[in-house]
């Protein structure tokens, strides 16, 4: 269970406060597939980074089970992230000078076994691409590589920031289906999307607007109190 409690992230901009997230309260169940929707600048990425332990909220708490994420030391958060989190980004974020296989082996302080990485890539249709560099791949192949990288260490939670934003429909389907399979294997998924194309994969869709949760997917708003 992931708990966000009154999470606020604000930035000081020219003396004024800009809210990226404002008092967001949200519960994500283990094994849930959650879609986060909202216009550009509404705080979706901020939410993911906060959940990942990469961005300390200005106020509020983020809990993973019993763990108060930002009460952990930095080192403990790094270990926790290595063990439990997989990331997928819209821009893939592959390392340009590493082969597909080496990109997958980049995850975690100790690389995953090679065979696991190769199997993961084969499952995603990249068996002929192991030695290629990202520049030699199509967008779909890049994102499938990134997906293999997120999956290879068997995380508990995958955070995907607009993973289909740069993909053609076929590749987008492949990615979403693989995430769905990860869920079926017991994982939790949070996907940020800007469209409703893939809503059918999600158990629940929440909406952010200007940093506020305007729909938490069960008919109530994410705002509590006044």
């Amino acid at each position: 269970m992931i708990n966000l409690e009154q999470v606020t992230k604000s930035y000081a901009k020219n003396g004024a406060e800009v809210y990226a997230l404002r008092e967001v309260t949200l519960e994500i169940l283990p094994g849930e597939f959650l879609a986060v929707r909202g216009p550009s600048g509404s705080g979706k990425t901020t939410l993911l980074l906060t959940v990942a332990g990469l961005l300390r909220p200005t106020a509020g708490k983020v809990r993973h089970g019993e763990r108060d994420l930002y009460a952990l030391s930095r080192g403990q958060r790094v270990e926790w992230r290595a063990a439990e989190i997989g990331f997928v980004f819209q821009m893939f974020h592959l390392v340009p000078y590493l082969s597909v296989l080496d990109n997958v082996l980049l995850a975690g302080p100790i690389p995953a076994p090679r065979e696991t990485a190769v199997r993961m890539l084969e499952e995603l249709g990249l068996s002929g691409r192991l030695k290629h560099r990202p520049a030699e791949l199509s967008a779909g192949e890049c994102q499938r590589t990134a997906l293999a990288r997120a999956l290879v260490r068997s995380p508990k939670l995958i955070l995907a920031d607009e993973p289909t934003g740069n993909l053609d429909p076929d590749n987008a389907e492949t990615v979403m289906r693989r995430l769905k399979q990860f869920q079926a294997d017991g994982g939790t998924v949070i996907v940020v999307t800007h469209s409703d194309d893939h809503d059918r994969y999600a158990d629940r869709v929440v909406r952010l607007e200007a940093g506020q949760l305007v729909d938490n997917g069960d008919g109530t708003t994410g705002k509590t109190g006044g």
Binding site: T45, T46, L49, A52, L54, L55, R74, G75, V78, E79, R81, A82, A83, I85, F87, F89, Q90, M91, H93, V95, P96, Y97, L98, D102, L105, L106, A107, G108, P109, P111, R149, R153, D161
Partner: protein, 382 residues
């Protein structure tokens, strides 16, 4: 190969320009360091050699020597036991090099005043191997000064009668314009016999060593050493000769001491700036690496590891480039000793350790900047 090492090498190959420029800066620093170091050593050797050719600059005589007589005659009337030179040589950490015992006296030879000088073979402290700086004279042989040879009509190979002994004239010397022209030089033991002073000497000639720094008082140190080993003696230094040599040596050191840091700082700035550009190029990758559950220490390790690798390669290239430089310029600057410029295992080892350490230091701030970069900032982009 570990993942980190493979990553570093892949990155070096990928960003070739940055890698090449970094390697060039490191190599330049290493080469200049090696060249200057080698040339400074050569300079020291050269100075030592030139000094050696100038002759002795220390004269150790009996404490009872009256200095007015000493300067008037050119030698001391008072003698020491020959065993003084043995005691001096045995003194631990002696600052003297090239010790020679001599006995000089005035001698009447067929109505002519001559100076008779006996010189011992050169003494070196035990364990210290030095090339002898002066020739030694065999028993029964004599070197005859220009004026004496003329007066007596002596030629090379002639017999020469001295105190009832027959010497073989090994050489007659060219005119020197000094009292050397009335000198006959022979083996110490022979001269002791001729002058009737067996086992006696009246002077030890020496060169002080090159290991004294400018703030030390060479004469004071030499005097205290002499006090301990040969209390019955005192030392006179031919100051101008000694000082010229010290000055020569110190000016070379100053030159090195001034230029080296300037060059090294310049190279360090280049290395640091290139590393900073590299960190900037790799912001995405660093953010990703962190998001993938790697610590900031491991990011630091990647950049410093890269510095070590560039440092080692730069040290290897720079060492041989520096040596080439030294060999190319050495003979012009050091005609006497340039042949001694060559591979030095010590300097090679020093370069192999110091150059990577230097590269790591120069890359430290950029590496720290990479390690402390907030991954959230780049992961938000796009």
């Amino acid at each position: 190969m570990s993942r980190a090492v493979r990553l570093i090498f892949s990155e070096l190959r990928f960003r070739k320009l940055n890698a090449a420029l970094s390697l060039l800066s490191v190599t330049a620093a290493a080469a200049l360091f090696v060249a200057f170091y080698t040339l400074t050593e050569a300079q020291e050797r050269e100075t030592r050699r030139v000094t050696r050719d100038l002759g002795f600059n220390l004269r150790i005589v009996s404490r009872e020597t009256e200095m007015d007589r000493f300067y008037a005659d050119g030698f001391s009337e008072k003698t020491l036991s020959e065993d003084a030179v043995h005691r001096l040589v045995q003194h631990p950490n002696l600052s003297y090099n090239h010790l020679v015992a001599t006995l000089q006296g005035r001698y009447q030879l067929q109505g002519n005043d001559v100076l008779l000088t006996g010189i011992s073979p050169e003494y070196a402290p035990p364990g210290r191997k030095k090339k002898p700086m002066i020739f030694s004279i065999e028993r029964g042989k004599a070197y005859v000064g220009f004026h004496v040879a003329q007066r007596l009509g002596l030629r090379q190979g002639d017999p020469l009668e001295l105190g009832g002994r027959t010497f073989h004239v090994e050489r007659t010397l060219a005119e020197s314009g000094t009292n050397d022209d009335i000198r006959i030089t022979a083996n110490l033991a022979d001269v002791q016999a001729v002058l009737g002073l067996p086992g006696r000497i009246n002077e030890i000639k020496a060169i002080d060593c090159l290991c004294l720094t400018p703030d030390e008082n060479p004469l004071g140190i030499l005097r205290s050493e002499l006090e301990a080993a040969v209390p019955e003696a005192k030392v006179v230094m031919l100051r101008s000769m000694a000082e010229t040599r010290a000055r020569q040596r110190q000016s070379a050191e100053k030159y090195f001491a001034l230029l080296t840091p300037i060059i090294l700082i310049g190279c360090a700035i280049c290395i640091g700036a290139l590393a900073m550009l590299n960190v900037n190029d790799r912001r995405q990758e660093i953010g990703l690496f962190r998001a993938m559950g790697n610590s900031s220490a491991s990011v630091m390790g990647l950049f410093l590891g890269k510095a070590v690798i560039i440092g080692v390669i730069g040290a290897l290239l720079g060492y041989f480039a520096g040596l080439e430089l030294a060999v190319a310029f050495g003979p012009h600057i050091f005609p006497q000793t340039s042949a001694a410029i060559g591979f030095s295992a010590n300097l090679f080892g020093l370069a192999l350790f110091a150059v990577p350490a230097f590269t790591v230091l120069a890359s430290f701030l950029p590496a720290a900047a990479a390690a402390t970069q907030d991954p959230a900032v780049v992961l938000r982009e796009g």
